[in-house]
Amino acid sequence: MAISILTSNANNVSVKVNYNQDSSYISSFVYNNYSNDLQQIAGELDRVVPVTDFVSSFTKNNYIVKDTGIMPPGLLYATKKYLVFEKPPCYENVSIIYKQVDNIDYDCDEESIYRIPLPWQLYIVKYHEIKNENQIEYYTTDVRMYFMKTSLMHPDQEMFMVPIPNFYSNGDLCRPFFSDMDDVEKYSKDFAGVIQSAYDWVWNSGTNLDLTETVAKYYSFYQDKPENTILEKFAVPFTHEIGKENYYIGDSYVAALFKAWESIDLHEISNINWVKNSQNPRFYSDFSNARTNLIGEYLQSIDQSSQTHRNLDCCDSCSEYDDEQDEYINSEDCECECHIPETPIDYDALYAFAGVWPPKGFTYLEALASFMQEDSEISHYSLLRHIRNIEDQVLMS
């Protein structure tokens, strides 16, 4: 079955289907950009839309479907679903309640506020369009943030992790809770509103101890080399040791970091060292993936046999089961691979081999691509499913 697109714009695809040699069938489909659905909406096509609509749907710069409105300076990238902006070094207040969200009593628990200097910041925002009484309105849906050494000059520029709670270590911000709809609706429904709300999500929504992995990683990465870091500014030198696999860190560490951070001047902040991001939302996942998926390759790389795929079934034939101890007892003459004494694994070397520690981090382009990827992976699956449905419908009609 061959299909020709006759007309199309960003959302609508009108196609002609040849389902046998003698006749053809023209139908119209709606392509939903958000759900990635392709839905048949009409049997016969009685009107051909101007070809210019078809053509313009393929034009890269037509992704923005309405005027952006006046935007603050700093916008770096804008498409129909995403925008990227940067902010220069500045002071911001961080408000934190030293509890996890489930334990917070907003009537009693006090916020601690720190005024910290920030280096250049890069925000990647996903926004959503809603059609409301023929007006298209924009709403912020997801935010990522990174620190940068300078303004973004090049797509391959390095990004750095923000050592503030409620950020995932790949840069994603844990979405804030809103007390009422006004927190969502108070922004203008254009790009300026999206940019302002994204900024407020980060800096004016408060934070807590739900996610502290980024802070833990700042400690563990720089505890042995505090020069040009916030750790160097501690009034009392930091002497504890935070393991690189720690994904949670307590309030005293978070408070100490903010206290030291406050003591840095704005003009100094661009020289402070930051940690690079994880590839997954958490370093914890990076490490787990390395242990699960890459240990075999790692052992091969150091000429050790893989111990992750040991054939435990062999024990049925070469071992005896001890009912009392509830375990297999090896035969003395067993030579199975699974009974070769284990080589202790050097996890530091494994993580280095897997590139998860020290972290590779993201360039700007990689960060943007990884943010967008979450959508496309889901959509590809649903798209294929819908294509099959459409084919079925056409063939059965």
Partner: protein, 493 residues
Amino acid sequence: MSLSGKFTNIDPREATSSYLINVNLDSASTVVHSALTSSYYNYPNYPLSLAQSSTDDQVVNDFLGGYWYDTKQVPTLLTVDVSSIFSGKTEDVVYAHKQMIYPKVDPSLLPIATRYITPEGYYFIERPPFQVEVDLYITKNRYSDNRKKMNPYKVWIPWTLTILNPHDLSDVKIMFSHKSLSSMEDVYSPSFLPNSYMDGRICFASSLSQLSVENIDKKDIRYIYSIVFNEFMNGGWNLDLTPNLYRFFQQYQPSEDHPILSKFLNPDKILLKKKYPKMTTRQLENFNFQASTRSYGSVFNYFFTQLSTFSLDETLEFYKEISEFPSNIRYHKCTYSFEELVNIIKKNSKITTVSSYENFSSTVQDILAQNSKLDQSFFLYESFPVIVYNIDSTNLSSSFRLRHYFDLSSLHEVLDHYMNNPSKNKIYLLDYVTSKFSVVDIQKIVTTDYYDFLKSKIGAPYESFESYISFKNDLFAKTAYTSSNSSVQESLV
């Protein structure tokens, strides 16, 4: 295969053999005609002499920038490109469509102060004040060996707002303001620098044609803006256009409400003498705005001399007071609210849609190249030239006329022939009146016969047919973007 005009319904049975037709005024022809308006005497055999004698030398200024003699007797050259509409397996079509809607991450960055974007693809880019050194040729004859330049005054440029249409680099506006954009009601004046039109459009030198096509294709707005803005601000200006300043101050009377404008019109001679000690007493005595209006050069000399004595604050105040001018002077629009600037684009959006055709084929082919699962047959972009002659050129003096008068049915036989014998090495020569055509093999050694034929039909003053083709291709390459507005017609045939 039946034929129909634009925006008409097509019968489902016809859909399989539908093609996009793009009819262009041939750039080569346009340029040649234009060039010959001033120097046709160098080509005594060129048939324009006939045309001129019959129509009182009336030149029609095509709004797209080309010049055409308004006569029925000038033979006219058109080219016609033909491409097939998308066709392929459902999955591939949808996949490609999706790829285009969700493109790979675009590495290009926007200029740092992009303040507004329209769906038509226009960018409004702001830049804070900065100083430039005046680089203005004041010799009229641009081909003179010893062209003179104005004194390199150093002046402040206020806040600028560049309106960039990346589809068409000849459509760039630079507006001035005393402040950063904060409201749709903010008022802008056109640039007061040389080579600026009253509506803010900039008349660029030909050097812009050197802009990398690759970067334009990628729509690297930061790169394009940087090139375009620097190209203009680095000077090399001339006196081609009426100074906007002259228009603004034609009827202006100094008032107490505008102290800086009063200062501008009443020069402080002591300050001038201090800043420019070489100015003679007579020069100082004669230095006033009224006396400066005798030529474009003296208007700019007055403007830059005065502006060079202004501090940044005074310069911004100067433009603030300009923004308080009435928005129309002598029936001419002179200042614009930001909202008006946006609305002007909306009115012209049709042009952008037409030019998007160019992006279309390149985008599709990019994707085809990146995805091996799709073969070239997925999108049959076929383009072959059809030279059409014997057209009443009265109907071709603007794209509007061409759209309505060009009868696509004359292409019927040519299309049929091409589809049955596709070849990239052919040029069709179509007699518009009789619909008869002949085919020229451009690979074949070009004989005098072909050239003579072409010359007799279109009067092209080329040394040989090869040189015509070479010239034409060269022009297309150079003008593909800057003259995209001459793209006239897409139709379903």
